[in-house]
Symmetry: D3
Subunit: 130 residues, 6 copies
C-alpha cells in the first residue's frame, strides 16, 4: 500500500473512532460504547473544516496557508493532508514549490526532511512513479 493510501486509511479509521457514533467506537469492558471525542473535540474538528472554505481568500490559497504552517511546525501528516487538499483545489506544482520555499526560508534546514517527504507525497498525489 502506498504512503498515500496508508495515510488516508488511518486518518479515516481514527476520525471514525474519535467522531463516529456508538457502533463505530468499539466497546468498554462492560459492553457500553468506548468514549469518543467530547463536545469540545467535535466542535474543534468542525471549526477546522470551516476555516478552509472559500472566502476573501480562495480555498486553494487557504490550503497553501495551511501547508506552510504545517511545514514550519514540522507535522508530516498535516503536510500530507494539505498537499492533498491543495492539489484537489487546483494548486500547480509551481505554486506548491514556491510554498515549500517560504517554509524552507522561514523554518530553516530543519524543514528539509519534511520537504523530502512532502515532495514524495505530492508525486503520489499526482500519480507520478516514485
Amino acid at each position: 500500500m502506498s504512503r498515500y493510501e496508508q495515510f488516508q486509511q488511518y486518518r479515516t479509521k481514527m476520525n471514525r473512532r474519535i467522531l463516529g457514533d456508538d457502533a463505530e467506537r468499539g466497546t468498554r469492558p462492560d459492553g457500553s460504547p468506548a468514549l469518543g471525542g467530547t463536545l469540545v473535540t467535535r466542535r474543534f474538528f468542525t471549526l477546522d473544516g470551516k476555516t478552509y472554505e472559500d472566502g476573501a481568500l480562495t480555498a486553494k490559497t487557504k490550503e497553501l496557508l495551511g501547508l506552510v504552517a504545517s511545514m514550519v511546525l514540522r507535522c508530516d501528516d498535516c503536510i500530507a493532508y494539505h498537499v492533498d487538499q491543495a492539489v484537489q483545489a487546483g494548486a500547480s506544482d509551481e505554486e506548491l514549490w514556491e510554498t515549500f520555499d517560504v517554509a524552507l526560508i522561514v523554518g530553516g534546514s530543519i524543514v528539509i526532511p519534511h520537504l523530502r517527504r512532502a515532495v514524495e507525497f505530492l508525486d503520489e498525489c499526482r500519480g507520478r512513479p516514485a
Copy 2:
C-alpha cells in the same frame, strides 16, 4: 507485535543502553564497554522520575500534566508514555479526553495527528480491540 509492546520493548532496551552497567552497553573496538550516559544524563533521568511522584498534586494529575505538555510539544513517544502512566495511576477515559481537549485547544489542529495516535494507544492500554 502491538504498538504498545514495541514501544515498551524499545524503551527498555535503549534505557539499558543509556543507563545500564558495562555488560548492558556492548563494547568498543578495543573491547572496553561502549560509553553510556554521563553523570548529567543519569541525574536528569532520576530527576525526571522524581517529578511525577505524589505531592501536593497526585501522581495521576501530574501524569495528565506530563501528557498535555507532551501533546502540545507533539512527541508521540512521550504521549504514549504518559497515557500509559496516567492509566496505571487510575485516570478515567473521561479525564483523558478532557486532557486531550486542553492540548487540542492550546496547541491547535497540528495536535490532531498526535491525538489520533494517542487514542489508538489508549485503546491498546485498555485492551480494547482496534
Copy 3:
C-alpha cells in the same frame, strides 16, 4: 502600573477590538467600522473558554493543564492568564510549584526565563510585594 494590571488592561482592550461590536472597533477611512474577528475567530474564542469549565476534571486542574502547556510552549501572556485563572480557581502555591516543575522537566532550561516571570506574576496575583 503593575505587570498584572498592564496585562489585564491590554487583554481587555484587544479582546474588545477583536470580538466587540461596531462601536468598539474604531472606523475605516470611509467611516465604516473596522473589521473584527470572523465567525471562525469568534467561535474559536468561545470554544477556548468552554474547554476550561468543570467536567470530569475540575476547572482548577484544567487551568493547571493550560498552565503547563503554556509554559512548555513558552508564551508569557498565556502563562500569566492561566496563573491568574488557577489562583482564582483555588490552586495553592504548592500545587503551582509542582506544575512549574513538570514544565521545567518536560521543557528544559529554556523554560527558566518564563518560570522567573511566572513566579513574579504569581506574587502579584497573591498581592505579595515584589
Copy 4:
C-alpha cells in the same frame, strides 16, 4: 513613538550593524571595524528577500504565507514585518483576518496573544487610531 515606528527603526539600525559596511558597524577596542555578518549571513538575508518576489504566486500571497508561518511559530517581529509587507502588497483586511484564522486554528490558543499584537500593528499600518 508608535510600535510601528520603533519596529522599523530598530530593524533598520540592526540590519545596518549586521549587513552594513565598516563605517556602519562601530569599532573594536583596537580601532578596527567590529565584525558583521559572514558571507553565509549575508547570503541568507539576500535569499530571504528573494523568496517573496512575484512568481507563480503573487508577492501578496507569499507575504500571507510568511505571515501565517510567523504566527504559528509565534515571532512578533516576524508577524509585524509580514503584516506590513502584506498591506503594502495590497492585502485587504478581509484577507488578513482569514490568514489570522488559519494561524489560530493550526496553531491553537497559544497564538491568541500574538493575534492581539498583530491586530494592533495592522491598525497602526492602516493609520487607524488605537
Copy 5:
C-alpha cells in the same frame, strides 16, 4: 537494511528528486520533466552545506552545533545526519555524549525519545552491534 542504510538511501534518492537534472526527476503526464526545486531551494541547499565548512570553528564543532540544534528542535533525520557528519569529522563518543547532555538540559525530557534514537544511530555509525 539497517536504519543507517535506509536513512542514507532515502536522503540520496530525494535529494536527487529535488536538486537533480531532468532525467533524475521523473516526468509529468505530458512527458515533460517533473518540477524540481526552484532557484531559492537550490541556493538554500548550497548555503546549508557551506555553513558547516572549517572556519574560526572547526567542521567538527560546527557539526556538534548542528546536532544540538537538531536535538532541541527534535528532528530525527537531522539528528542522524549530524551524528554521522560529526563522527566523520572525528568527534569522540565522549564529545557526543556531552553534546547530548546540553540538548537534554536545554530541551528537557521531551528530547529523551530522540536521544534514544540518536544513541542507536551512533552505534550503527560506529559499527557496534545493536
Copy 6:
C-alpha cells in the same frame, strides 16, 4: 540602565526568589515565608550549571552549544545568558558569528529578530557603543 544590566539584575533577583533562603523570598499573608522552588526545581538548576563545566568539550564550546540551542528555540534571555558566558569563556567574535550562522541556517528566518538582539547584546558585553 543598559539591557545588559537589566538582564543581570532581574535574573539575580528572581533566582534569589526561586532558590534563596526564607529571608530572600518575602512572606505569605500569615507571615510565613513565601514558597520557593521545590527540591526538583533546585536540583534542576544545579544540574543545569553542571552541564556547562569543562569536560571532553571545553566550557567555551559548551556555551556555544547552549547558545545555538537557545537561538533555534528563540529564547532571548537564554541567548543573552549564553552570549555572556561564551564571551567570559573566551569566545571570539568570529566564533560567535559562525555559531549565529548555524542557528540561522538550521532555524531559518524566524531566528533573525533574535539574531539582531543577540548582536546588540554582544556589543554591550564587549563594551562597544551601540
